[in-house]
Symmetry: C2
Subunit: 150 residues, 2 copies
């Protein structure tokens, strides 16, 4: 007769993620801004050299599948926030490139997102707790990476 409750800690992690993320999204929506997913794309591109990334490395950074990124970029392109350009060195490839409008939108999103992170997340933890949490999460991620590349 197993105790069938999944590890309490893991269950809490799932709940906390769901609740906090929903709260974040709500903040953005209330400010008439697009989703966190769009923010992630814009931010990934803004950080990238020349504000451009190959589709597959964008997928890797965002932890999404290639075909999902294809369509995510479709949407951002329709909204004029990024544009697609054929890669020079490999004629199969395409870069997603941040547009001026995309940069401007990200700049408008960031203060809202930042405030939400502070109020929903950071503010409720001490610096020591945040550091401990980072350590744990990084360790978990690293363990996963190690087991994935066998």
């Amino acid at each position: 007769m197993p105790v069938p409750s999944p590890s309490r800690t893991w269950a809490l992690m799932l709940s906390a993620h769901a609740v906090l993320l929903a709260a974040m999204e709500q903040r953005l929506k209330a400010a008439d801004l697009p989703s966190l997913e769009w923010y992630d794309v814009l931010w990934a591109l803004e950080q990238a050299p020349d504000h451009r990334l190959r589709m597959h490395s964008l997928a890797e950074r965002l932890l999404l599948t290639r075909f999902n990124v294809t369509r995510l970029v479709d949407r951002l392109e329709r909204a004029g926030l990024v544009s697609r350009q054929k890669a020079k060195d490999d004629r199969r490839g395409a870069d997603a490139v941040l547009t001026a409008k995309g940069r401007a939108l990200r700049a408008r999103m960031w203060p809202v997102y930042r405030t939400a992170i502070d109020e929903i997340f950071n503010q409720h933890l001490t610096a020591g707790q945040r550091q401990a949490l980072e350590g744990m999460l990084e360790h978990l991620l690293q363990a996963r990476r190690a087991s994935g590349e066998e």
Copy 2:
């Protein structure tokens, strides 16, 4: 000129969630079992008195919207894992009721899920870390609840 990286801790939380959850789902799929979402429904019902729950309280427990639960239960019902029964006391209401088949499936899923939680999550943290983590997550959730019910 804001530093536009979202809080590193928060970003790590998002990444870790995505990566660990994907790993969990993969384990289930590799064992030819349905998703965690289905597990959650089955487990919520198994814990409930009489193995039944009103649709809206199921939604609340699973942190899903009502209409999403409607269709989630549709799918589980089609698979014979739960059945719907009109509530007696309130003729608008409906209960989702766990079937024998549903119980059996959850029993088959649990060992796989449990192992995955151990190997992907628990094993990489000390008991002290898990406890600290639980404390933080609970505190965050509680802060959210407090701010939600104003």
